[in-house]
Symmetry: C2
Subunit: 206 residues, 2 copies
């Protein structure tokens, strides 16, 4: 049976690196932005449209209103009557479900935990870290200016939470949405990978 | 330096057993209800008063109003002007801080994670589990009737959340309040203990 690990993560907590290392150790595939590329190919929407949809979710109330009414960026295509954002979300969801059926993999972000909630053999992981650690990471990894780092982190996490809370109808970052949540900077990136491996090796649904 | 592990847990997730086994493996002390006994001794309030305070927190809004106004169970003692509940909370907090200073230990529940948030060398753990697992546990461990189990679990967790959210001014069960959150029934009680030990052994604040 395919083995799927989804990773949700605070911005700057090392989620992408931890996911990639975990996939390497397990000898399985790793998906992050590749999902957008494939969803774009399969749906006909541009990659830019997917990225914009994720970036838009910065105001929770506004986002709900906009999404609910389909008033902003709405592009109803005859029989669907879905907003553009909902169509993009559905296209991504289809890709995520296909990837999970195709083979074992690690999937980062994009509500994959919620989309795959009824799949067998899926383990959901959430990663977070102290602000200081995250600031250092986003400055060095994403080339963000020091005086903008904290603001960017807070804004990005707010977007992730709003996007998730709207589409998944669950609360992003609630411990009981995930099999395992880890403060990554307390042990470091590599030890976090080891902790996830350790949990996976112990699995025995009881 | 003392090593402190706090354990927050959903009702029936095995938190008490996991905490006790963890303390045994680490060769350190374990505190759960013992905190109430000691707080009662040191404060002069009865153990029953402490238990009642915890049980009362079943309605979030009502609890906030009651606590804020000191209208219910209020027993202002001259200079303090604190409600009875706030005084009980303070008495427990003092005991928890003393225990953490006295020696290495595992402490279950009672907002210990929040009370010890500024202590060095403290690791906070949250445990949760599927409803079916928890039902079986509360039926066998706490002698609760099968047809009452789910209701009792939901009510108890609601109380724990309200008690925590009021006193700690944080959200109970948010992954980023804890170093490590684990779905205990996916691996079982003993493997959960091992996962916590593994994380503790890897520690290296970075």
């Amino acid at each position: 049976m395919n083995e799927i690990i989804t990773i949700s993560r605070q911005y700057g907590s090392g989620g992408r690196e931890i996911g990639a290392k975990l996939a390497e150790k397990l000898g399985i595939l790793f998906y992050d932005k590749e999902i957008i590329t494939r969803a774009a190919k399969e749906s006909g929407f541009s990659e830019q449209a997917f990225e914009n949809a994720e970036k838009k979710a910065s105001n929770s109330l506004l986002y709900s209103i906009v999404m609910g009414m389909g008033a902003y960026g709405s592009q109803d295509i005859g029989f669907t009557h879905l907003s553009l954002d909902d169509q993009l979300y559905l296209a991504q969801s289809n890709v995520i479900r296909k990837l999970a059926q195709e083979g074992s993999c690690v999937i980062v972000g994009r509500c994959a935990d919620y989309i795959l909630r009824d799949f067998p053999n899926v383990v959901h992981v959430f990663l977070w870290a102290d602000m200081e650690f995250r600031k250092k990471r986003v400055i060095s990894e994403y080339d963000i200016k020091e005086n903008k780092a904290e603001e960017e982190i807070i804004k990005t996490d707010k977007r992730r939470a709003n996007y998730y809370n709207y589409h998944a109808d669950e609360k992003w970052g609630r411990a009981d949405n995930y099999h395992l949540s880890i403060k990554s900077n307390y042990v470091g990136i590599d030890a976090t990978v080891e902790c996830i491996l350790h949990y996976l090796e112990s699995r025995k649904e009881v």
